[in-house]
């Protein structure tokens, strides 16, 4: 008990998450549900990256799915057109996304509020358009097949292996994010969110930190995209589309900006709900839009922070 209480609250949550992940397969033995869980973990990694950007640095991105798409399509284009091994592509995708974020980030991060949001919107739409139109490279609207990941004769496929892989990767991502938050960089980011100017006069190089977190979020997104591509064995431009970007933003906001656990919860809701309401496919947009509006009006802080406040605790 002593060791547990010495851990800071946010690390305790991480431990809780790990335990939950380990225990879940014992409860849901079904391959179908395990696949859904894996999908939640994969998307949650992207949401987590976005949360670092939105929840900590306070920058709204409406083009996050573009980076997911880059990570995903590298897993297809690399092996198919460039003769790469899937492992090379796995590294190249996030590297590419990070490089793009670094390049584009420097000018657009000077923008504030709505302007930055719309700039990211434009960026995401451009990426999505290229993926849609460059049929020779990307297979156009129908997408491309993605070769599976294999090593030493073993191929990564199947519900259970994917469950553990995605859970593991998410846990590492969450651990990295948790570390970041409690570090001087984390404090600098949170300070920037509340007051650019206040942070600046204390010696915080605001532009550099915004760029760093933008690149980090892009890398998280690309890793998630790569896993998504490998998981499905197939990828379409929709995965990089505007609606997907909006969904990520909603997942982050719904679960609670600034909350790591919230990223997972928000993602879970938005992934599981359409599955549960498969009957209501017609009304998908109606429900999504309604969900977004209602939550932002009535439960502004998001699910996890609202619950935490009720319990009198803070995740940080």
């Amino acid at each position: 008990m002593n060791a547990l209480s010495r851990l800071e609250p946010r690390f305790r949550i991480l431990l809780g998450l790990a335990i939950l992940m380990a225990a879940l397969p014992l409860v849901i033995d079904n391959a179908f549900y395990l696949r859904i869980a894996a999908l939640v973990y994969i998307f949650a990694l992207a949401t987590l990256g976005l949360n670092l950007l939105m929840g900590f640095a306070g920058l709204v991105s409406l083009g996050h799915a573009g980076f997911v798409g880059i990570g995903a399509y590298t897993m297809a284009v690399g092996p198919t057109h460039l003769g790469w091994s899937s492992w090379t592509a796995l590294v190249a995708g996030p590297a590419l996304a990070g490089a793009l974020a670094w390049l584009v980030g420097r000018p657009i991060l000077k923008l504030r509020g709505h302007y930055f949001a719309v700039a990211t919107l434009g960026l995401g739409l451009l990426i999505s358009m290229v993926l849609n139109n460059e049929t020779a490279w990307t297979g156009g609207p129908d997408g491309m097949t993605v070769p599976r990941l294999s090593a030493f004769g073993w191929t990564l496929r199947g519900a259970t292996p994917w469950y553990w892989t995605s859970a593991g990767v998410l846990l590492i991502g969450a651990w990295v994010a948790t570390n970041l938050i409690g570090s001087p960089t984390g404090r600098a980011l949170r300070a920037i969110h509340d007051s650019d100017t206040g942070a600046g006069v204390l010696g915080v190089n605001v532009a550099q930190y915004k760029l760093a977190v933008f690149v980090l979020s892009a890398v998280f997104a690309a890793i998630a995209g790569a896993m998504l591509a490998l998981f499905h064995g197939h990828i379409t431009p929709e995965s990089a589309g505007f609606m997907r970007s909006v969904e990520f933003a909603t997942m982050a906001v719904l679960g609670g900006l600034g909350s790591i656990l919230g990223s997972v919860v928000g993602t879970a809701i938005l992934v599981i709900l359409p599955q549960a309401l498969v009957v209501f496919h017609e009304y998908e947009h109606v429900l999504l839009g309604l969900l977004m509006m209602v939550f932002m009006i009535f439960l502004r802080a998001g699910i996890v922070p609202s619950i935490m406040t009720r319990l009198g605790r803070s995740e940080l």
């Binding site: 570390n179 970041l180 570090s183 600098a188 300070a191 100017t197 006069v201 915080v204």
Partner: protein, 260 residues
């Protein structure tokens, strides 16, 4: 020895000359006050000095080095820090975290280490935390620092900002109306704190409206009016000059004052 040298600073907003030909110098270790009626350009001057605004004319030298238009974060790392009239606190962070951000300049900023919480990061956090507590006590803010900053009173927040600026270990500290929102007891406590800061070798430049505090604490006083220098001098003598009184009270008010 002159630490801060401001030469003929001018800045325009739209068609208005917010500052024009402002020249002054601050000696190392002194407490230098800038006063003037509302709209005189005092905070604008601070914003220009601390790099928030870029002046259109003139130059600023810190310890002989040109710092005109240098970004705020670079100035902070060169030893210049400030507090704000309208508060720029980090409302969603705790009081302790707010002051800890002030340590940023001295912390190990290796982001890679931060991503993996190496032992060095834990040690760094502990040091920053202890120092932050130290600065909070220094300004007399003995409250539970884990509270959210948003819950503090205006006067407490002003002191928190001072603690935060002190945490950067500045050579020169700009305080923008630190006594605003303070009752007489708090103002006296603040006076003692500023005295302590100056005694510890930090140069202080102050914007204030509380004349009693200004006269008590300042080594020299510089008066601004409508963006221009009106007068400069020592102590109460400056305040009783007719042109200074006119700026504050108007001609009629000044006549009344002189008659009283």
């Amino acid at each position: 020895m002159t630490l801060l040298n401001i030469k003929e600073i001018g800045i325009d907003f739209g068609g208005i000359r917010a500052l024009d030909q402002v020249t002054l110098s601050v000696e190392k270790g002194e407490v230098f006050s800038i006063i003037g009626p509302n709209g005189a350009g005092k905070t604008t001057l601070f914003n220009v000095i601390s790099g928030v605004y870029r002046p259109h004319r003139g130059s600023i030298l810190l310890d002989g080095t040109e710092i005109t238009g240098v970004t705020p974060w670079r100035l902070a790392r060169a030893g210049l820090s400030r507090s704000f009239q309208n508060l720029q606190i980090f409302g969603r962070m705790s009081v302790l975290d707010n002051v800890m951000v002030g340590r940023h300049r001295h912390e190990n900023r290796n982001m890679l280490a931060h991503l993996f919480t190496l032992p060095s990061v834990l040690a760094q956090n502990r040091i920053s935390r202890e120092l932050a507590q130290h600065y909070l006590s220094y300004v007399g803010l003995d409250i539970d620092a884990r509270r959210s900053a948003a819950g503090l009173s205006y006067g407490e927040l002003k002191r928190m900002e001072i603690a935060r600026a002190l945490a950067t270990e500045p050579r020169i500290l700009l305080l923008d109306e630190p006594a605003a929102g303070c009752n007489p007891t708090e103002t006296d406590a603040l006076c003692a704190v500023i005295r302590k800061i100056a005694d510890d070798g930090i140069t202080v430049v102050l914007i204030e409206h509380d004349m009693k505090l200004v006269v008590q604490i300042s080594d020299r006083i510089h008066v601004l009016n409508q963006g221009r220098t009106l007068a400069q001098g020592k102590g109460a003598e400056v305040m009783s000059r007719p042109e200074v009184m006119t700026a504050y009270l108007g001609e009629h008010g000044t006549r009344e004052m002189l008659r009283a």
